[in-house]
Amino acid sequence: MSSAINVQNLGKKYILSHLQQERYTALRDVLANGAKFWKNKLLNRGASASDPAHEEFWALKELDFDIQQGDRVGIIGRNGAGKSTLLKILSRITEPTTGKFKIKGRVASLLEVGTGFHPELTGRENIFLNGAILGMGKAEILRKFDEIVAFAEIEKFLDTPVKRYSSGMYVRLAFAVAAHLEPEILIVDEVLAVGDAQFQKKCLGKMNEVGEQGRTILFVSHNMAMLSNLCRHGIVLDAGRLTFQGPISDAILNYYQSSGEKNNLGWEHESANAALVSSELIGLGQALEVTIHDQLVIRMKYRIKQAIAGKCVPNFHFFAPDGTVAFVSNADNVGSLPPGDYIVECKIPGNLLNEGAYFVGLAITTYYDTGSFEVDFFDRNALTFNVIDPMDYRSNRYGYGGPMPGLLRPKLAWNIEKVSQ
């Protein structure tokens, strides 16, 4: 495999101006600044190196990475981390300030759904227009026209101006056109967040199909489920710098760890009854990994602060990166406990969770004898770990190397019996 995208020392600088309200320069400013410049020069006031009205802002800085041909890469980062700027540079909409990049093959970028759609034009006309804007030729659009219309499910409204479309129809049509591009490299910004669930699924299916044809995909999304479904590798950006590059589940984990800290500060970690003291994972290797066959122990230290007429029950919540609950487990056989510090341990057996990143939420709930209950604390993203599959004989993969769907992958008792010749 060779690299499809190679990025070296890429940077993008913007100048922020603080005094002006308009984003564009008015002619008078140029004239005024020109005058000021000469005045300064004549009066020899020194260099105007630190102009308070203009501040440099590096949206991207010193980016180096390499993307293999046929790879599907997710780009993760908080708002303002530089994801969109990176996509804009790679799709040649804007120029880098420093560094360079090489791209092999035809690039199609989908930074927005329906770019160039004209509301006055009909669906049919917009298919041609949008296709041409995205880089398709007339013949290519004609060839795929029926497919596009079928995918968008707008046959009936083909000759209606797009301005009369519902927003769902609009988005479907726009995505359908883009989905039928056949680039070697597809760059997609957060565009699948629109449309209903069924259509999202269809889009994702289409993207998967594109990926399986050996095309390279670069995908930005905040939807971690989508990312972990679609991508193989991930790049984490933080404040314009690349902080991590590796398998997608590791990247998601890394992203949550770096941004999760802030979240935790906000949580209440105690009530009048109980408090969280500390927590840890036992049995993790480097990089917070545990192989799918090995057990993992979650240990939580907590304090019961007063004697109460109820039971303080520790319970652990397991989440997938997209927030889906894998399962919740309550502690066994908890009685009324006197005040003091306690350690609770919970063993997660091997061969239960599927590959991927998981988050553990730690909680204590007090169940009163009257039948009511009360949550003492709930730290939603207290711990994270990553389950990896060593792909050995125990995985029952029989040579299959792709992802196995599902949050759980328990080893169950199977039995095969011969019943006839």
Binding site: Y24, T94, E125
Partner: protein
């Protein structure tokens, strides 16, 4: 309405894709792109589609539709004929005054609308510029093409008027082709300048309509440039439209309106200058369009 689409370039489409298969694109900060003109050629269909879009959109939900391309110059011609010929009593030689006006009106209206449309074309398509890559030159060029289509349609008027007056053009009519190329190039050169400048300085949204409005009175549209005193003729020709309009009159009106050759020469030189400098300025500023638009 489906666009008229020729089928013959199916084959070419395939080879284009093949060609780009193994093409390596390298972009380095601060270096101008080597592929630009190739890209412009690759996106040639976009010229057609954008122009097609603008023409379609222009006459959507109008009941007279494309007839507007005829009505506007026709009405202007009537008004100009009344004002300059009947009221101001300007001379027109042997030519019927409406023909004299029309022969100038058509290239002038093409020029004026091309400047207005292409000047605003980039900010009008800001959304596309900030979301998709294509050579940005496609945008002002296709808006000049749109005005050119109107120009060709309104050519019908002058043919009809010639028939009406029983006026037959001669061999000089052949000069109309190079003259059209010339006026197209002038509009394009100024269009490059103004559209690129408007992205950065929105002042040009106000400057250019004003210039065009003023230009109508300083260009020989409603009158013949013969009425300009001889000693001012050269200076007057510094307006590139003077030579072009005189050229159109000379070509269309069978030499009844004599051509002042120096002014045509000046027009050609000015056009070349505008086109080359406009292209250079556009190319230089183009890479930052997405950041500042």
């Amino acid at each position: 309405m489906a666009p008229a689409i020729p089928k013959q370039n199916l084959k070419c489409d395939g080879c284009r894709q093949q060609m780009s298969d193994n093409q390596i694109l390298e972009i380095e900060a601060g270096r101008s792109e080597r592929h630009y003109w190739n890209d412009l050629w690759r996106y040639r269909e976009l010229f057609y589609f954008l122009a097609w879009r603008d023409i379609l959109v222009r006459y959507k939900q109008t009941s007279l539709g494309i007839a507007w391309a005829l009505i506007r110059p026709l009405l202007t011609m009537i008004v100009f004929t009344i004002i300059f010929s009947k009221l101001a009593r300007l001379p027109s030689g042997n030519i019927p005054y409406p023909l004299l006006v029309l022969a100038a009106m058509l290239p002038w209206q093409f020029f004026a609308s091309a400047i207005a449309e292409s000047g605003n074309s980039l900010i009008g398509n800001a959304n596309m510029i900030s979301k998709v890559y294509f050579p940005r030159m496609v945008i002002p060029v296709s808006s000049v093409i749109v005005s050119f289509v109107d120009f060709l349609i309104s050519g019908v008027i002058i043919l009809a008027m010639m028939l009406w007056y029983g006026f037959s053009p001669d061999w000089r009519l052949l000069a109309i082709m190079p003259l059209m190329v010339l006026v197209f190039a002038t509009a394009l050169g100024i269009g490059f300048w103004i559209s690129a400048l408007t992205v950065k300085y929105r002042d040009f949204r106000y400057i250019s309509p004003f210039m065009v409005q003023l230009g109508l009175y300083v260009s020989p549209v409603g009158f013949s440039s013969d009425i300009v005193p001889e000693q001012w003729r050269l200076l007057y020709s510094l307006n590139p439209m003077v030579g072009i309009i005189d050229g159109f009159r000379w070509a269309l009106l069978a030499g009844e309106s004599p051509l002042y050759w120096p002014s045509l020469l000046i027009s050609i030189i000015l056009t070349l200058f505008l086109l080359i400098s406009g292209t250079m300025y556009f190319r230089k500023t183009e890479r930052r369009f997405a950041d500042i638009i």
